[in-house]
Point group: C2
Chain length 132, copies 2
């Protein structure tokens, strides 16, 4: 059973940008937009090993994500949780699936470099807040 309410699960099927908050090296908050999907248990977003969010989450696995409905910006979901894995396997499949959702096309391989650093960040949702 996921903590994500059924009423707001559709946000993962829409091209809603997710804003990911992590803890930076000095304990400060950082936030940046990502593409994300939800399989009924975990949230996954495409990322690159070595990047800032990866470094932050390797050091502190606590994470929060929020998104608004692209057609109704007062309808939103915030999820707090923990990163439970950085997956290499399937990372390009996730990237393509999300690119299809947000752009309507696969992700160009030349823009996905370096391919061996491509990962999926896997988030276990623990707590949610909704509006609208």
């Amino acid at each position: 059973m996921t903590v994500i309410p059924e009423s707001h699960r559709d946000l993962f099927d829409l091209p809603a940008v997710w804003h990911v908050a992590t803890i930076g090296p000095s304990g400060e908050p950082q936030v940046s937009p990502v593409w994300a999907g939800f399989d009924g248990t975990h949230i996954r977003f495409p990322h690159l090993e070595g990047r800032q969010k990866w470094r932050n989450l390797r050091d502190d696995d606590r994470i929060a994500l929020s998104a608004t409905d692209p057609d109704s910006n007062e309808r939103y979901l915030e999820v707090r949780g923990r990163v439970v894995a950085f997956e290499h396997e399937g990372a390009l499949d996730l990237l393509d699936a999300q690119s299809q959702k947000y752009r309507g096309d696969d992700f160009p391989r030349e823009d996905a470099q370096p391919l061996d650093k491509r990962i999926s960040v896997v988030v276990e949702p623990l707590h949610c807040t909704t509006m609208g």
Copy 2:
């Protein structure tokens, strides 16, 4: 001179939702959407004294905000900074100005209760990241 690049200042004039990251009571990241404006020096967003973000920011003034262009979700601005004030004066004016921007109308007074808790959170931008 502000650190916010001219190329992305228009995001504050668009109805772009800002996702505000703060540090929660256990040091965890939290993120939620707000309306925000920029006067050339400070970012201000309407809030209520006593709410979670207010409590977080009273205890740790470090903050980050990110937004994407509503018409181009790969164009974004992230701002990191510090909260330099919680202003009571002008809080309803800010709320109305932002409501005009996002909803096209003033904010209903019955929804703005309690009026004496209405504040503007004032952010000094210190560092920016942009894309697109």
